[in-house]
Amino acid sequence: MANDHIDITVEPGEVHALLGENGAGKSTLMNQLYGLLQPDEGEILVDGEAKVFRSPRDAIAAGIGMVHQHFMLVPVFTVAENIALGAEDVRGGPLGILDRRRKRREVLETSQRYGLPVDPDALVENLPVGAQQRVEIVKALTRDVDLLILDEPTAVLTPQETDELLAVMRGLAETGKSIVFITHKLREVKAIADRITVIRRGRTVGTASPDTSEEELATLMVGRDVSLEVSKTPAEPGREVLKVSGLVVDDDRGVRVVDGVDLTVRAGEVLGIAGVQGNGQTELVEAIMGLRGVRAGSMEIDNESLAGMGTKKILSSGVGYIPEDRSLDGVVKEFSVAENLVLDMYDRPPFGNAFKLNPKAINDSARERVEQFDIRTSSAEHAVSTLSGGNQQKVVVAREMSRPLRLMIASQPTRGVDVGSIEFIHNQIIHERDNGTAVLVVSSELDEVVGLADRIAVMYRGRILATVSPDMPREEIGLLMAGVTAGIAEEEAAE
């Protein structure tokens, strides 16, 4: 059961935040409102009238619009065409011609009325993510909705784009529209919401006002006290472990995505790479791990070149790797927890050799690590797909951290992970650092990078724009993430 007798009321002109961990049932609830799922029990009242939504068409007709976390746009269509999709204006009967001009005008009017600048003739694929999101919002508004549901809208935005979006939401609310804002980010909730409903395990656990402190909200969300700060002592950097210089990498389409990156990570320190998703971080890490070819430049671990070393050899030379896409690269979902815990060590003693596995050693070690890393499963023999996202990630963390490491690379280590597990994983990363491992953390969550890192490298369009201290004001790091270098901490940027 994803939702268990939830009551929620949204007033006109209100921004209502729906706060909950991943898997708490927020999206399930909203999918029912939008007609994508049908409730087993209970009813939906719109302006006091009970409604049954069999499909999103019914929901839109009742004045409910939704902007999904993953945009529902056709990349090769223009903005106006995307907005027309599903509500085409046709001249001359059902087989007539599309009235493009009228739609274009409508888009322009809507975007001006609500202060949402979009170019109706631009191709969607050429627009930055923030603009694509505005297109989605305009699309909903042209359908005359009174209630707009935004599902995790800030996950893909830079801090500046987030601020712009919050302003737009405020503006919409002032024109009398109601907004449901689904999120798990406390900072944003406090900045914008009029009322907050917290959901945990499919139940409403409380309604809060924006004055509630972040700690209280987190406690409501998780059900116990959590510490939001990563507690750590100052780093004691040692020798240079990873040294990357002049690295150039192309992506699958041959587009240059890493364009001359230099960085060093020392033993006993965490280097954080901040940046909006898609600025070359993924390819940088894949190149270091031997998963992607390199155009130019060099990479060394303890002065030993990584060029031509396969992924297997890099891993066995003392590198731990948490890939950013857990379900694609991190685990084999059909495999048991025990098998996933040796996914990159199955042919090394004591788990096996080049020919055969040692099931006893694999299972014994799995039981130990399930205990040690607090992986919530009733048996290590269960398929990993039966675990929650946070516990799946703990399997990856347990696997990579239960061997002696020289370098640890963690890409988006807490994406899609519940608050309770985030705390645990962060502590494990700091623990690894304190053991003298060089740690490279890549994250598009600025909070995470600031919390973990001893130094922060900001990556933008394939380059490291600057390496800064985590004490630098968030706004300035945010500007760097958006590619603005002028006037910011010149001395540090010049480093």
Binding site: M289, L291, G310, T311, K312, K313, I314, L315, S316, Y321, P323, D325, L328, D329, G330, V331, V332, K333, E334, F335, E339, L343, D344, Y346, D347, G352, N353, A354, F355, K356, L357, P359, A383, T386
Partner: protein, 421 residues
């Protein structure tokens, strides 16, 4: 949430009593697990087969024209025909009580009594190898449609080694079997390498190599040194007795190949579940990006896997020549490679399941022979039965809906590998 769950009555659950062992057993049996679905698929196929038997018999069908007047006639005639047909299927495949009776009376021989089982196992033997070939490839995420071509090459090399060399018994057999396996392995290596290096889809390349192998065999049989000079038709020299798989005394045809098949099944089961290569191929089979990230070489796994799969099919071809056929002809491999696809599907791509499925296929074939000889029902009906079984297995939702099965209790049993086909 599936529709089946929704269909169960919504009345409050009665207080759960502690299930007895038998109760729990029956409950699990009636849930939609692999075993139940397979069994019910066979049952459904037999029911539809019965209808087809009646429809295809004009004499019985004519009795249905006055069904409303005397329904007894039509029903009795149908029942007699169906029961005779399925009784023959059983007698031809497993055992005939009459011949056992004759053996005990001294009027018959023990060979006649064990004839049906012998036939079943004879037909099943090559299918075990080709079925395992498809199954292991599928576990590694590859569709080996080339079992036929690999088996043909196995026949070819195994057969040639069988009559071209003069070696002591035993050693000659082993050499001939190895030749077959190596030939099939090479025929699998090509598509494997192409897949790994260029991404060429193995379905296309293996199908093409099936034709190549069949034509190569036709050509080779006509060549000097291979063709039997005493014959005018396309047939090769007979393999030497030193290379033959030892068989039971004639007319029983079952040979040592079935023992080899069981040993190879055990070997494949070990390879998949307990070896490092098996771990790699299973990981590559379900999630290649994760396998690559964990440092495995996807390309190397694909290539090696196709060599192993081809080797198994090639061994099946060699066993067919050295155990049953003893000469090369155009049709020596029959359709063992293609049947291997269905056997693997029926066996859910598990080694022991594949062995059982091959025996079922062999039994249907052996029983079908008797059915045709005894009451004139076409052997094609058996093909229809085999096809129906496969259709029901491939669409487990259909079987579950027909029998209103409960969703399987354990998720580990339920997920059907057939989905990928």
């Amino acid at each position: 949430m599936s529709t089946e769950v929704a269909e169960t009555p919504a009345k409050p659950a009665p207080p759960e009593k502690k299930d007895s062992f038998l109760g729990l057993f029956l409950k699990n049996l009636w849930s939609a697990n692999t075993f139940t679905v397979t069994f019910l698929s066979i049952f459904l196929a037999l029911v539809i087969g019965a209808v087809l038997i009646v429809i295809s018999d004009s004499e019985v069908l004519s009795k249905f024209s006055y069904f409303t007047a005397r329904p007894g006639d039509a029903l009795t005639a149908s029942w007699d025909l169906i029961s005779a047909a399925y009784a023959d299927l059983f007698k031809g495949a497993i055992f005939d009580p009459a011949s056992f009776q004759a053996w005990f009376d001294g009027t018959g021989t023990w060979q006649a009594a064990f004839g049906p089982i012998s036939e079943t196992l004879t037909y099943a033997t090559p299918l075990v190898f080709t079925g395992l070939s498809v199954a292991i490839a599928f576990r590694g995420g590859l569709f080996n449609i080339g079992g036929q071509g690999q088996a043909v090459i196995g026949c070819l090399l195994g057969g040639v080694a069988g009559f071209a060399f003069s070696l002591p018994p035993g050693i000659h057999l082993i050499v001939a079997l190895l030749f077959g396996a190596i030939g099939g392995g090479l025929w699998g290596f090509l598509p494997g390498l192409l897949k790994a290096r260029t991404g060429a889809h193995e379905v296309i390349t293996t199908i093409m190599l099936n034709y190549t192998a069949a034509l190569l065999l036709s050509w080779l049989i006509e060549q000097k040194g291979v063709h039997d000079p005493k014959r005018s038709d396309a047939i090769s020299k007979a393999i030497h007795s030193s290379a033959e798989l030892p068989a039971l005394p004639s007319p029983l045809r079952v040979h040592l190949g079935i023992v080899l098949a069981v040993l190879v099944t055990a070997g494949v089961a070990w390879l998949i579940n307990r070896s490092s290569f098996g771990f790699e191929l299973r990981a590559v089979g379900v999630n290649p990006p994760a396998a690559k990230t964990a440092g495995m070489s996807v390309a190397k796994t694909y290539t090696l896997l196709m060599v192993v799969a081809g080797g198994l099919a090639g061994l099946g071809g060699a066993v067919q020549v050295l155990g049953t056929a003893d000469k090369l002809t155009d049709q020596v491999a029959g359709t063992i490679g293609f049947d291997g696809l269905l056997v693997a599907l029926l066996g859910r791509n598990k080694p022991w399941g594949t062995l059982l499925a091959a025996i079922l296929y062999g039994a249907l074939r052996a029983g079908g022979n008797l059915m045709q000889v005894d009451i004139g029902i076409s052997l094609e009906l058996v093909t229809v039965l085999q096809a129906l079984i496969v259709i029901f297995i491939a669409a487990p939702a259909l079987v579950k809906a027909i029998f209103q099965l409960r969703a399987a209790r354990s998720a580990r049993l339920g997920t059907s590998l057939a989905k990928g086909w």
